[in-house]
């Protein structure tokens, strides 16, 4: 790495800061119970605290870069944007030559983004370099001098913003590589399944809105219908409301507004058990924390939602459970030493196949919501997961597939809806020649 004219690689964040490289991370490192000035004094001040002097320095920096920050406000009571400004001041106090912001706008409500970009501009105008890491081309277009596109760790495009061609940048961002997945799925005899025309809806989201505890909108009037036998892909960069939607549909989070049905049953405030009873299969995003109990056996995990079938007079019929699990393990190709080994010993792919098997064997099964089902899986496991999902759709199950892997969605889904900042910003057919348009929607082009 070349920095300040010499070749140098920072051995640690502290060393980098020492040499003038400051970074604002996506996750803030502030203590919510303390005030802004106390947070900034942490590790900087020695001995008896002189809050007034430090507060004056904060106000001074805030003035210089054109924003307002109350040094005596308690951090926990500030908005996300104000906390971010506190982080930026923390960096600027060290007088860095290079300021790096990692996805700074991902956490901000739209109203605060403009102000942040203004601060970036002013920092740059003060003679410092600023690197803004973001998924959103619109923001770059507004503020940047130069743009570089990174994809899967490689620099794939570079341009001066003034002369850059937006279309080319979008193409570079969403890229195109032939994945073994397409080949595998296209080869299978069921590749050309037309969505069967069945009456009614498997899954209906009607105006779902989620406000987080800070009052920021995480999901904004989300309306989507999934027909029986249809696979709807929900594309979007992570952190645009997918997690919240997944939690609402699983019955783990009550929406602030809106309603949600599986089949004809309203499940808006019903809870997870009711979702299962109504035929909603849920493959949660967080496999380890939500989808399974890793300390329990494979069999117990595979029948976690149907344990009452194996319970007689309050006692678990363990032999029957293990026998049933063995059958299901074969059916869903879950490879483990046996049904009674601990779930934690399985590979991620086998765990996911087991969870999928559990949800797909619900009776009745009306709709399946699978959130990031292939994350961390190897290619063969990805293939197996999608084969099962497509087989379920052929049997008339409505599938909502939430994924940030656009190529996988295009290969598996019938149509693709795009989520951006908690809003449904568009819907396209799942076809290869649409991927540029979908990518543009994902990156917020034409959406703000």
């Amino acid at each position: 790495m070349q920095f300040g004219g010499k070749t140098w690689l920072p051995p640690s964040p502290a060393e980098a800061l020492e040499q003038g490289i400051a970074m604002v991370h996506q996750h803030f490192s502030l203590v919510p119970r303390m005030t802004v000035v106390e947070n900034l004094m942490l590790g900087q001040a020695r001995g008896v605290l002189n809050r007034a002097a430090f507060a004056a320095r904060i106000s001074d920096i805030a003035d210089r870069f054109g924003f307002v920050l109350d040094p005596n406000a308690v951090v926990g009571e500030l908005s996300v944007g104000e906390r971010q400004r506190a982080e930026i001041v923390k960096c600027l106090m060290r007088d860095p030559q290079l300021l790096v912001l990692d996805e700074p706008t991902a956490v901000l409500p739209p109203s605060e983004i403009g102000a942040l970009l203004d601060i970036c501009r002013r920092v740059a105008d003060s003679g410092r370099a600023v690197i803004l890491v973001t998924h959103k081309l619109a923001e770059i277009a507004k503020v940047a001098d130069k743009v570089a596109v990174l994809r899967t760790g490689r620099l794939v495009a570079q341009a001066d913003m003034a002369t850059a061609d937006m279309g080319a940048l979008v193409q570079a961002m969403v890229g195109r590589e032939v994945k073994p997945l397409d080949v595998a799925l296209d080869d299978s005899e069921d590749s050309a399944v037309a969505p069967p025309n069945q009456p009614g809806f498997a899954l209906v989201c009607d105006g779902l809105t989620v406000l987080d505890r800070h009052g920021a909108t995480r999901l904004d009037n989300f309306t989507l219908e999934v027909r029986p036998g249809e696979i709807v892909g929900l594309a979007g960069v992570e952190g645009n409301g997918q997690s919240e939607l997944g939690m609402v549909l699983a019955g783990l989070l009550a929406p602030t507004e809106g309603r949600y049905f599986i089949g004809d049953v309203e499940l808006t405030h019903a809870g997870a058990a009711a979702v299962t009873a109504a035929g909603g299969g849920i493959v949660p995003e967080d496999r380890h924390a939500v989808a399974c109990v890793t300390a329990m056996s494979v069999a117990e995990n595979m029948y976690l939602n149907k344990l009452d079938r194996f319970t007689r007079f309050g006692l678990l019929q363990r032999r029957a459970l293990n026998e049933a699990a063995l059958v299901q393990m074969k059916e869903f190709d879950v490879r483990a030493a046996g049904p009674d080994v601990a779930f934690s010993g399985l590979s991620g792919g086998n765990q996911q196949k087991a969870v999928l098997g559990r949800e797909l064997t619900l009776d009745p099964l009306v709709a399946l919501v699978a959130a990031q089902p292939t994350r961390g899986l190897d290619v063969s496991a990805v293939e197996a997961v999608y084969r099962q999902i497509r087989a379920a759709a052929r049997r008339g199950v409505g599938v909502l597939l939430i994924s940030s892997e656009l190529d996988e969605l295009i290969a598996v889904a019938d149509r693709i809806a795009v989520l951006y900042r908690g809003r449904l910003v568009g819907e396209r057919p799942a076809e290869m020649n649409e991927r540029g348009a979908i990518g543009a929607l994902m990156s917020g082009q034409g959406a703000i």
Binding site: S29, L30, R33, L42, L49
Partner: protein, 306 residues
């Protein structure tokens, strides 16, 4: 009537003092994220070694020194277990309390055996010149053991340290967001160690107060739950110095009623009065006084990168 009230205030202060000392010390360590359930054991150990030191040397001030040393030694083990070894703080604390009760009882029987009931050299009372003769306030406030005045000084020092020094800032940061503190260059383990040692020193003062300043002897299990009451006072006080002290005074007053009500001719079952401070503590811990908002990382060991 006025005389009774003055005596009531004086005995409230006297009974609340060990709680205030122990609770304000415990507050420091809890704000740093370490729970010392062993507070009771530390106090009992200190009470014993304080009495022993005072008896052996004939000097009650050296006795206080022995008490503080004993409690600090115990707190060092607690810090090593809970900070370095990341042991479960609840289990460690309970273990310490049982150990302290057994060990002090055994040592007491071996060493004092035949001497039980013998009074040990105690700390003098200090009548503040000019103030102790004031009609009401004199009896209420200014005829206390020297350790009471010194104790209030220590408590003020702790309040000042927590709010006005960089060490206090570090303590609060490692108790809430150890990861952020670590990033800001705060040595998390060292800060927590120091906080636990401060708890030990304060628990030592509290134990010494009970045996040397107040009762002037050691008896088996003489702290009798005062350590738990101090822990409850920290919760009751919402991890805030002023409110914690107020809670200790409340518990002290509830205990003082045991002696005052009968003297005033009001007959309430003694058992109820004995129970009163513990009942108040239970209500506090159950959250009756409001939503509890403990330090975020309380009882959670810190390990970088995990």
């Amino acid at each position: 009537m006025e005389e009774t009230l003055a005596i009531f205030i004086a005995s409230t202060l006297r009974l609340a003092m060990p709680l205030m000392l122990a609770a304000s010390g415990e507050l420091v360590s809890e704000r740093a994220g370490v729970l010392n359930l062993s507070l009771e054991g530390m106090m009992l150990t200190a009470a014993f070694f304080g009495a022993l030191g005072s008896w052996a040397t004939g000097n009650p001030f050296l006795g206080v020194g022995c008490a503080v040393l004993a409690a600090v030694a115990l707190s060092a083990v607690q810090a090593w277990l809970s900070v370095n070894l990341r042991a479960n703080q609840l289990v460690v604390g309970i273990g310490f309390n049982i150990l302290a009760l057994g060990a002090t009882t055994l040592l007491y029987r071996i060493i004092f055996g035949g001497l039980s009931r013998e009074e040990i050299p105690g700390l003098p009372k200090l009548s503040v010149p000019g103030l102790s003769d004031l009609p009401f306030a004199g009896t209420a406030f200014f005829q206390q053991s020297v350790i009471v005045y010194f104790g209030f000084g220590l408590i003020l020092l702790i309040w000042w340290m927590l709010n006005q020094t960089s060490f206090g800032l570090a303590v609060r940061a490692v108790g809430d967001e150890p990861r952020s503190a670590d990033k800001a260059g705060i040595p998390v383990a060292r800060t927590r160690w120091l906080a636990v040692l401060i708890t030990g020193a304060m628990a030592g003062m509290a134990g010494a107060f009970i045996s040397i300043a107040d009762i002037h002897t050691f008896t088996e299990n003489m702290t009798n739950g005062a350590g738990y009451l101090a822990l409850a006072a920290v919760i009751f006080g919402g991890w805030n110095v002023g409110r914690t002290i107020a809670a200790c005074l409340l518990f002290g007053a509830a205990t003082a009623l045991q002696f005052q009500l009968p003297a005033m001719g009001i007959h309430v079952p003694t058992a109820f009065l004995l129970m009163l401070p513990y009942l108040l503590a239970l209500l506090a811990v159950a959250g009756v006084v409001g939503r509890l908002d403990p330090p975020t990382a309380l009882t959670l060991p810190f390990q970088r990168g995990k």
